[in-house]
């Protein structure tokens, strides 16, 4: 009996904190993020109702049908009800997936426009490196044997290749606002994960694979990038930032980097 009010109170507390948004997402910084939040809210409402009704019903039967003498009703079930709630849940769950498809497609299926800015990401235990192709628009040759983190060559850029000379290497990610960005994700050692909360997006970075990730960021600001796949003892400190700049600031930054 005591269980019923406890179940109700717990359910109410959980619903309250989701409704009050005490701990919540940071605001989204692009169209994808806005669509993501809408899909999350749709799911939250559906799930919230199911959750509350189920917990409420559990509490209700506990109170209503507690043993007060006499015999229980004898029933082996009801096929009509069974069919009804089976199809209702199936339709509800599947429509949620279908509604989310567009968001997933936007990240993974949509063609990356040719003017997207390519940036290579090199993750390693426990640091991030980013490479921009420089004014020639081409990534230069790299060689693992030339990798030297201490000397500022985490990619192993080959000086002998003219295309490598102007490549820009940075320990944090800088992107211009409102432009299509195409990250090319590489890992040097184990699996890492690129995650920016404000982008509502993450992607594993797998050694031996080249995984593209395409996005736009509209809101100028600096956002944190915490590694989100267990990568070893320094996992918790494998952090960098993504700075979204105006197009002019971004060009300025590139020029500064090229002079270094």
């Amino acid at each position: 009996m005591l269980l019923a009010p406890i179940v109700w109170v717990l359910a109410a507390v959980i619903v309250y904190f989701f409704a009050a948004r005490t701990w919540w997402f940071p605001p989204p910084i692009n169209q994808h993020g806005i669509a993501y939040d809408a899909q999350f809210m749709r799911t939250l409402v559906v799930v919230g109702i199911i959750f509350f009704l189920a917990q409420f019903a559990l509490g209700y039967v506990i109170v209503r049908f507690r043993n007060r003498g006499g015999r229980a009703g004898y029933s082996h079930g009801n096929n009509k009800l069974e069919t009804l709630w089976t199809s209702a849940t199936a339709i509800l769950f599947l429509s949620l997936v279908v509604m989310g498809t567009k968001i997933w497609a936007g990240v993974h299926f949509d063609e990356v426009p040719p003017d997207a800015i390519p940036i290579e990401v090199m993750a390693k235990q426990f640091a991030w490196n980013f490479r921009y192709p420089g004014p020639d628009g081409k990534f230069g040759r790299t060689d693992l044997k030339l990798v030297n983190d201490a000397a500022g060559n985490p990619f192993g850029l080959d000086d002998k290749d003219p295309a490598a000379k102007d490549d820009i290497v940075s320990a944090s990610l800088k992107v211009p606002a409102g432009r299509h960005i195409k990250l090319i994700l590489h890992s040097r050692d184990v699996i890492h994960n690129f995650f920016v909360r404000e982008l509502r997006m993450k992607q594993d970075i797998v050694p031996g694979m080249e995984i593209p990730l395409h996005f736009e960021a509209d809101q100028i600001g600096t956002y944190e990038v915490p590694c989100s796949e267990l990568c070893g003892l320094g996992h918790f400190q494998m952090r960098t930032t993504m700075q979204v700049m105006s197009e002019a600031d971004f060009e300025q930054w590139k020029i500064q980097q090229a002079q270094k």
Binding site: L3, I6, L10, I14, W23, W24, F25, P26, V47, Q55, L58, V61, I62, F65, R66, N67, A72, G73, Y74, S75, H76, G77, N78, L81, E82, T89, F93, L94, L96, G100, W104, V107, H108, F109, Q125, L144, K145, D149, R188, D189, V190, I191, N193, F195, R197, R200, K202, Q203, I205, V206, G208, M209, E224, P226, C227, S228, G232, L233, H235, F236
Partner: protein
């Protein structure tokens, strides 16, 4: 229906060792598994407390840490690698040696034969071997703590290259990781033996009249769990063998070319795929979730019927739901890999199938409420845990509707939202199933009742405690807190979330402390509990037709004959409010 004849194979044993150590009796083996699990769950829980302590006190020095781990906690401050090895061992011990072991191998071993009217499992020697093989696996697993470098830090999922490239990827990745893989391989062998035994027993040894559709739902869940184990552990065993070869024999199943780890170029590996491991692992790993939870569903169904004095609502639908969960369980492993870099189109298929598996789970919940409806509910501790299971199953289940959508997983993958989700459902819901089973079957196993007052205090504290630990994890997930972080000091936004972590840590201390009440109740009741009698719950299934504890061959040489379905409660016109499965036919009952 074949006539049971297992005990031609072995007579009642004489002497302590054959009776209690290398026993062939399924009941003794069941209890051995139960205590192996009980030991493991306390080890696993202790590890989780150390983890929770470190997460909120990353820089605090504790003198006995230094004595326990002279290198990994030098000066008494736990290192991040120690945190990760505690985490790896917590997950591994809980998943394999508790969640897989107790509900299936423990209760299943003890009660499957009795509930279907058999005198023992189909292969008693195999049964003994599977227990001792499991024991060996546990010894090897715990040994990983004591070798150079300590226990592995790659998590219970052991993704290569972190787990495959050797000590170069971190402490614990040398001998510790090798022992981990070995232990898992040995555990797989043990589970395969157990699975074959369960399937053969259920198929061949049912007594006269025990048709499949008269089996208690517990037996259905043990059968389907055994099938999942047979198919799942075989794949994990193969995967483990390949990973071991990558580490020891220089093969490259999971290791690609062009790696440079810790400033060293790895020249001797090429052509492997880290994703291959994930596919193999989760092909086992998802069914494993159901291995952990299905028996709990069975126990819950059994108890809801018994204590509300009602037949199960929609028995057939429940059976079909169990079967479809078992089948679909093998088709959804990709939902663990939405962010892995696998083809994003396949995510659509896995997502659709994942939502489909939500349907039988929802059916079960509806039918549980339907069973309680119009009942006369008795609130014994066993029943409280079964009701708690329903609540936790709903809470843990609905968060899956977020995670099953690839679109939403773009944010939630590898956050605390996932940790909250699976702890609610395969962690505590499954454990509530075990508590329910313990309070329900203890009288049968030990001939005495457990103390109800202690039981209720333990139940309410645990129920509120687990909600307090695991609900906040969902909010941490919404706020973007990544999982498997040793501390929250390096990422700025995580600093604001530390108060939630502190709350969860206190809740964990509290919940762990009240488990001592259970432990006390268990051992005290074994010696001092009220004598139980044969059928203290007025239940209907076969285990309640024999003395508590049952004699060596369960039915004292009598072959039971079953005339009724498993949950004939409150049948109109019947003398009592329950009709036992073996009661004579004259009683009006059949549909």
């Amino acid at each position: 229906m074949s006539s049971p004849a297992t005990h031609a194979a072995h007579a009642a044993p004489q002497g302590f060792i054959r009776k209690y150590i290398f026993s062939l009796d399924h009941k003794v083996i069941g209890i051995q598994y139960y205590f192996l699990g009980l030991f493991s769950v306390f080890v696993g829980m202790a590890l989780s407390l150390l983890m929770r302590f470190h997460m909120v006190n990353p820089a605090v020095s504790v003198s006995w840490f230094a004595r326990l781990w002279p290198t990994a906690a030098q000066g008494g401050v736990m290192t991040p690698e120690l945190y990760l090895s505690l985490m790896t061992m917590h997950g591994t011990i809980m998943v394999f040696f508790v969640l897989t072991t107790v509900p299936q191998s423990g209760f299943g071993n003890y009660f499957l034969p009795i509930q279907i009217g058999a005198e023992d499992m189909a292969f008693p020697v195999l049964n003994m071997m599977s227990f001792w093989t499991t024991f060996l696996a546990l010894v090897i697993m715990l040994a990983a703590f004591f070798v150079q470098g300590g226990a592995p830090l790659s998590g219970w999922t052991a993704y290569p290259p972190l787990s495959g490239a050797g000590a170069i990827t971190g402490p614990g990745e040398g001998m510790g990781q090798t022992l981990w893989i070995l232990s898992i391989a040995v555990f797989c062998l043990a589970s395969l033996m157990g699975a074959i035994n369960f399937i053969a027993t259920t198929v061949d040894l049912r007594c006269k009249g025990m048709t499949l559709m008269r089996m208690p739902l517990t037996c259905w869940t043990w059968l389907v769990t055994a099938i999942l184990g047979l198919l799942g552990f075989a794949v994990l065993l193969a995967a483990g063998a390949l990973l071991l070869m990558d580490r020891l024999a220089g093969t490259s199943f999971f290791l690609p070319a062009g790696m440079m780890i810790n400033d060293q170029i790895i020249a001797n590996h090429k052509g492997g795929s880290p994703l291959l491991w994930q596919h193999l692992f989760w092909f086992f790993g998802h069914p494993e979730v159901y291995i952990a939870i299905l028996p709990g569903m069975g126990v819950t169904s059994q108890l809801l019927a018994t204590f509300s004095r009602k037949p199960i609502f929609g028995y057939k639908a429940m059976v079909y739901a169990i079967l479809s969960i078992g089948f679909l369980g093998f088709l959804v492993w990709g939902h663990h890999m939405f962010m892995s870099g696998m083809n994003p189109y396949s995510a659509m298929a896995f997502a659709t199938l994942t939502m489909c598996i939500g349907v039988p789970s929802a059916i079960k919940t509806f039918n549980w409420i339907g069973t309680l409806w119009n009942g006369r509910i008795h609130f014994d501790t066993a029943m409280l845990f079964a009701l708690g299971f329903v609540s936790l199953f709903v809470t843990g289940g609905v968060s899956g509707i977020f995670l099953g959508q690839p679109a939403l997983d773009l944010y939630f993958h590898d956050t605390y939202f996932v940790v909250g989700h699976f702890h609610m459902i395969m962690g505590v819901a499954a454990i509530f199933g075990m508590f329910a089973g313990t309070f329900y079957w203890f009288p049968k196993m030990f001939g005495r009742m457990m103390n109800e007052t202690l039981g209720k205090i333990h139940f309410y504290c645990t129920f509120i405690g687990v909600y307090a630990i695991f609900t906040p994890m969902h909010f941490l997930g919404v706020a973007g807190n990544p999982r498997r972080y040793a501390e929250f000091t390096q990422v700025e936004y995580l600093g604001k979330l530390i108060p939630i972590h502190q709350f969860m840590t206190w809740a964990a201390y509290f919940t762990a402390a009240v488990q001592l009440i259970f432990l006390f109740n268990l051992f005290w009741s074994m010696r001092r509990g009220k004598p139980a009698g044969q059928n203290p719950w007025n239940a209907t299934t076969l285990e309640w037709t024999v003395p508590s504890p049952p004699p060596f061959d369960n039915f004292a040489g009598v072959h039971p004959v079953v005339n009724h379905g498993p949950y004939e409660y409150s049948v109109p016109g019947a003398e009592r409010d329950f009709i036992m499965q073996t009661d004579p036919v004259e009683v009006p009952s059949e549909e």
